[in-house]
Subunit: 150 residues, 2 copies
């Protein structure tokens, strides 16, 4: 079970990788919120913070605080007692995030992972998929769907 490398990557390169992972972690919250709000509006007609809290599995106080921040950042609009809405920027981010999520989940399932596991792991993975990796995933899925007479 010895799997240590013989050499390490270049110092700056490695630091850049970790930095990118940290950036992705920090961006994840905003993506989760706008994606969920967009989904709630699409399926339920409205997105109330109570429902966001329930679906994220956090307290409503946490949601209120985070929503306030995302509102300042220009992603969300709140109409008190009338639910949460997305700005154009928020809607664009939601669409993009949802797409990444779907691609990741579909790829995992194509690789033999069951749906529930795929959905769960995709929830974390999606935030760390760069443009190149996303393109590679899409290409694989396209190939598989074309040659689906396997």
């Amino acid at each position: 079970m010895k799997n240590t490398p013989e050499t390490l990557p270049n110092e700056q390169a490695q630091a850049a990788r970790f930095q990118q992972a940290r950036d992705a972690r920090n961006a994840a919250t905003a993506q989760d919120y706008v994606e969920l709000i967009s989904d709630l509006i699409a399926t339920e007609g409205e997105a109330r913070s109570v429902d966001v809290a329930k679906r994220l599995g956090v307290s409503h106080a946490t949601v209120v605080k985070t929503v306030n921040r995302l509102q300042k950042e220009g992603l969300i609009i709140t109409k008190p007692y009338r639910g949460l809405f997305l700005t154009d920027m928020g809607e664009n981010l939601a669409t993009e995030s949802r797409h990444r999520h779907q691609v990741v989940a579909n790829l995992l399932m194509a690789l033999g992972v069951d749906e529930e596991t795929a959905q769960t792991d995709a929830e974390g993975i999606e935030h760390h998929i760069g443009a190149k990796t996303l393109a590679a995933f899409e290409l694989i899925l396209k190939k598989l769907s074309e040659g689906e007479a396997s």
Copy 2:
């Protein structure tokens, strides 16, 4: 570009997914530290906090603080001016994390992603790969390496 779902997942199920993603995020730091310390010891003979800081791309003060926490958690041992060491628990976590990292990076490359991108994205993705998904990835890689006369 409308990709909204018609229905939402079950509320509890969705909350559990987000919770798991948050748990993975929280565990990521410890994994990054022990993995890097283990790699440094293997390749350089020692792991000093200065080098950990440089390779993570954070300040040394941040490393000191985090190392103190991980020491309390029983993963790391510090011998001042003699570098950082891993407990058995830390070594086990490092081995496991490194393995996951390698599997993820190899799979990305097998799917057509270039090495640098694979390494970067793997740095974030690895923390969100559950046992089932890891097994699926390993199976794919095994199949590919067996039928490598493609």
